[in-house]
Amino acid sequence: MIRLAILGAFLLCAGNSPADDGIAPLETFTPEQRSHWAYRLVARPDPPTVKLRAWTRNPIDRFILAATEELSLRHASEADRITLIRRVTYDLTGLPPSPDEVFAFLSDPRANAYECLVDRLLASPRYGERWTQHWLDLAHYADSNGFELDGDRPDAWRYRDWVVKALNDDMPYDRFVTLQIAGEEAEAGSIDALIATGFGRCGPREVVGGNVDPAANRQSELTEITSTVGSVFLGLTMGCARCHDHKFDALPTTDYYRLQSFFASSDLVDRPIATKAEEESYNAAVKLINEKVAPLRARMSALEAPYRKALREKKQAMLTAAERTVLAIPDKERTPAQKKLAEGTNKALNVTWEEVAAAVRENPADHAAREYLKREVYELERTKPQTPAKAMALIESRPKAAETFVLRRGDVKARGPKVAPRPPGVLLVSQKPDAFSEPVKPPGPSSGRRLALARWMTRPDNPLTSRVIVNRLWMHHFGRGLVASTSDFGVRGESPTHPELLDWLASEFVAGGWRLKPIHRLMVTSATYRQSSRVPAESSKKAREDDPENSYLWRMNRRRMDAEGLRDAMLFVAGDLNPKSGGPGVLVPIEKEVKDLIFTEAEVVDLWPETADPAEHRRRSLYLFRKRNVRYPMFDAFDAPDTQISCPQRGASIHALQPLVTLNSRFALDRAESLVGRVHKDPAWSEEARIAYAYQCVLDRDPIAKERSSAREFLDSQSKFLREKAAEENRPLPRTGSAPLNLDPARMAAWVDLALALLNRNEFLYVP
């Protein structure tokens, strides 16, 4: 990697020194800086001529083949149909195909059976759910604020559902971007557009009392949104330029603050969107509950009163002579210092809930009564309906647009020259002179700044927006982006393996009206995508040696399911998945150890009030409540991002905590049991048929002869083992929950082990 020596190489325009009017002068850029591939305009290349035309299915393949032909890399053969349907179904919907779907595909005689399958999957509502998860990784969405108090965001899910719908509707990406950046400026009055601005609200936010410097707090909000917009939409590591000129890219600090200034007047607003009727019915319901709670609280206070009194008296007795003297002086006669001391002393006399609880605990009857009252109050309060709908928005409602100053070393106290909203200069210089139009104030309270930014970003000649998004799609389909650093298109990022293909896809995307589904379709119907990922070592010796990382895609990349994909797939193959879409996040049961980690200083009966309906616990992972500081062990183990910062690409680590989750957790055991129930639904089936069906459910294929016999042998020996063990310990074997009652419990228990083993097979976890 050549590090370009461009440090500090920004030239200032002559005759425009910052001293004149306090406004930072614009920079100019050297030809070397401007020449970085990602800053140059997208040129639409013609697909190259190739020798092995017969191999290609669409233009993508010609770009891929041209490179492999040049390097004499031999391509893998096309994958079999089962592999194809597993791969493409997981890629597009995040779920495995059902045995019926596999059967239908295998027996589809049409020449375009695969294309029809792709069209069906793209039209499935599951598509939007799957790709929303990818988008939320970038937005670093969660249902709580993070930091110390980690307060819940009861309305965050509306943004998540907006993304699902937008993707399912194949909303053109230029509109998708515009609404998320400038929803209320682009479409005044639209509730959906308001919700879409929730993009800027997804990240963590510190909410805490005390002497927090409002300017520093505000700056950290702006930093969050500026860095996120830069990396997600533009693939620019703008964050690096916040404290100093970017060390490697032609991004001066002034440009960082110019980008930030688009958001300088925007505020984090929770705007009510409920109808009057909804508000009224909510208030009525709450009033009713409060009326029931009030007498319980009164009983609690009455119960605690003598304890509080005793505790306070004890504290009063402990006062020092000096403190007593100060308290004895009438308030009016106290000096300022005495006033402060008296205040402090009174604070020391305060009785805390911990002290009350500890004192009451000494009396078992009172303790029981207090605990009972606490629980009653809690049970009543949790029946309160969802608070009336609000949109978590990032919008402008200030009378006057805020000014932005360059902050030296990012310090709010070290103001430098003033800047106005403007996209990064190094990009503007490649574009037409009119590429960026100054903000035009729309009617209403907005300045139009964010809309101006969105208009610039979604211009067909923006060199980054289209390249960045088609590259993200490519990464999710092929395992690695054409530019491997998907959120860093700067000089320090990876250079594209296939620059012409990237440009062709970007121009095709824009020419097709910025629609994502046709680009997905192009990618997954290409011959490149349809290759096998397993190639015998002998036949690919040269390719393995010359391109061991498969940068040139001479075969397909196998991928591990991600955390959410694994959970969803386990639910799906066990026949447990609840396909319900949308709505507030679900609180599923969590391990006690995880629950204990929820921080609070208050006395709370249940910090993780599980969603009551157990059917809700089996919904897709996208709909789980994501509390930033509470991490589900399964997601944690399988590399789900921590939602603290934008995550462009997940890792796929391998470590011993993963098997602990997939072997030992309640979730895994429940899935294994359900799967056993699923294959035992029909009492007429032979064990042979059940084994085959279990394979079909989990791996979408029939077992081979060796697998059949080995499964049978395992069932025999494991049931014998379990039977003997139970006899030895002189206890009955428990029944498997979901299996028919007339079956041998030892055999059923062995079946659960078989199911658990299948769910832990590499073949299940990996997308072929």
């Binding site: 040049e70 110390e148 963590p204 510190e206 009392g209 002497n211 927090v212 590591t237 490697f248 210092a337 402060k340 001391l341 402090g344 002393t345 020391a348 805390t352 990464m475 395992g479 690695r480 982006g481 860093d488 320090r492 990022g493 296939h498 620059p499 012409e500 070592a537 010359d546 391109d547 990382e549 990349n557 991928r559 150890e593 995880v594 204990d596 980690l597 921080f599 200083e601 930033r628 500081n629 509470v630 590399d639 921590d642 603290q644 890792g651 796929a652 680590s653 391998i654 470590h655 993963q658 098997p659 072997l663 030992n664 080995s710 494991q718 082990d753 083993a757 299948l758 097979r761 590499n762």
Partner: protein, 483 residues
């Protein structure tokens, strides 16, 4: 088209070669460090299936492992290690303006000085100052190096927790323990390399990000250990029916299936198969590691396990010793979390709060040092003690309590490579601001890494276009703390 070839050659996979690491990880098709390690180190260094194989640092290390005793809430320096006679004279009087403004979370207006009511003494041959709150530590004075000039950038718990753990006041960066295991791997196959143990009443305000791996591979995140026979989440099956001998048989069947069509060159799938064996061993070894009944009555008494006051923290300290003994690289033990009553967060009454918190921790901390020493472990184990910040010399609103102070507080280190019996750094006459050898948290981290054989400037990971490191753009090894 420009030929775009990747260098396939073998290279070191040490902390220095992050580009290679990134390429492997960013390769995207599920390849992570483990498989790379398998390929490159299978022949070189022992068990090929250990994802956290021990790696050499940048230079020979004094400390092979580290125990970080984290006092959540912010212990008061002028009531424990940093006596301030001038402050005692000013008790109850307005803060003289010459000391400057107090930056704390809650204090407004003209604060009043709050003297310390503790009795101080000088202990050991080196004459280390300590108060009567920590009598068990007095005889160990000559083992300690006090650092009295610590500085962090936030006076609010969560951001300060993040910074003391990750070098930044934000969430989402890799923690000290994960950087250490990223740099050095683990010496222990059957236990996690980085373990965190929290107060049972609750987590610190910062929560799980305090021991997170940020953008480092997930295998470097701290694993939370709970007291009792099941220290790790899901270590035991959720149903008691699934005994280990039963699971062994299931795993043999699984292994047979997984190996049936395994490509010998497929190191990733081999690694995954190995991870099941590792998990199985962990299930039998972790309960042994945390089984305190194997300790002698004398040791249990030493740690205060027989006293309800010290039992809880004593248990965590004893566990820490058992874990480092078994090769766990980094153990973080938290004192404090959850309700204010169980934190060092003495806003209302510093004497009452610190008497309680010291009562819970003093004996166990001393026991840990004594025990490590007599087992020869203190020679290559680093022990660090400190909170996310200290406390103000002025009272909070005239009360008996102190607010948060980030500009001058005390931490201490002991053990491997530490210049014991020494005091480094100083605060002003009232303990408000560091005046000598200012030690920013980045410097403290650089020093800890240095003691463990890692150069904080070389231990990097490319992330979003930046070579990220624990010490951000700062960090300087505090030479006066080193032997």
């Amino acid at each position: 088209m420009i030929p775009h070839k990747r260098c396939p050659g073998p290279g070191s996979f040490g902390p220095g070669s992050r580009r290679e690491f990134l390429k492997v990880m960013g390769g995207g098709f599920g390849l992570l460090g483990l498989t790379d390690l398998l390929q490159r180190e299978a022949t070189a260094s022992g068990p090929a299936n250990n994802p956290m194989a021990a790696k050499p640092g940048h230079f020979p290390a004094r400390a092979k492992r580290c125990i970080f005793l984290f006092m959540v809430g912010g212990p008061s320096q002028m009531d424990l290690f940093d006596p301030k006679p001038v402050l005692n004279q000013l008790d109850g009087k307005p803060l003289p303006p010459s000391f400057g403004k107090v930056h704390s979370q809650f204090i407004e207006g003209d604060p009043l000085c709050l003297g310390s009511h503790r009795k101080f003494g000088k202990y050991g041959q080196s004459g280390i100052d300590m108060s009567d709150l920590i009598p068990h530590l007095h005889p160990l004075a000559d083992d300690l190096a006090l650092l009295r000039s610590c500085v962090v950038d936030s006076v609010i718990h969560a951001p300060a927790h993040y910074q003391m753990n990750t070098g930044r006041i934000f969430m989402g960066y890799p923690s000290l323990g994960s950087w250490v295991t990223y740099g050095l791997g683990s010496e222990c196959e059957n236990l996690p390399a980085f373990v965190a143990m929290t107060q049972p009443e609750g987590t610190p305000e910062g929560g799980a990000p305090c021991w997170g791996a940020g953008f480092l591979p997930a295998s470097h995140q701290g694993t939370l250990f709970r007291p009792g026979p099941n220290p790790i989440v899901n270590l035991k099956s959720a149903s008691p029916e699934f005994t280990l001998d039963r699971q062994r048989r299931t795993l043999d069947f699984l292994r047979e299936m997984n190996e049936s069509d395994l490509d010998a060159e497929d190191s990733e799938l081999s690694a995954r198969i190995a991870s099941y064996e590792l998990a199985f061993r962990m299930q039998s070894e972790a309960p042994e590691a945390v089984d305190l009944s194997r300790e002698s009555a004398e040791t249990r008494t030493l740690y205060g396990l027989d006293d309800p006051k010290t039992n809880d923290f004593g248990t965590r300290c004893l566990l820490a010793r058992r874990l480092v003994e078994r090769g766990v690289r980094f153990v973080q033990v938290y004192s404090g979390g959850g309700p204010v009553a169980t934190q060092w967060d003495a806003h209302d009454d510093v004497d009452a709060n610190h008497a309680a918190m010291s009562g819970m921790t003093d004996k166990p901390v001393a026991a840990l040092l004594i025990d490590l020493k007599r087992r020869g472990l203190l020679d290559d184990t680093l022990v660090v003690w400190g909170g996310e910040f200290g406390r103000t010399p002025v009272s909070q609103g005239g009360s008996r309590g102190r607010d948060h102070n980030a500009t001058g507080f005390t931490m201490w280190m002991a053990g491997a490579g530490v210049k014991n019996g020494t005091i480094v750094g100083a605060t002003d006459e009232i303990g408000l601001n560091a005046t000598e050898d200012r030690a920013h948290v980045n410097d403290i981290h650089a020093t800890i890494l240095h003691l463990m054989g890692l150069d904080h400037k070389k231990l990097t990971q490319l992330h979003n276009g930046r070579d990220e490191r624990l010490t951000d753009v700062g960090g300087r090894v505090i030479g006066k703390l080193l032997l």
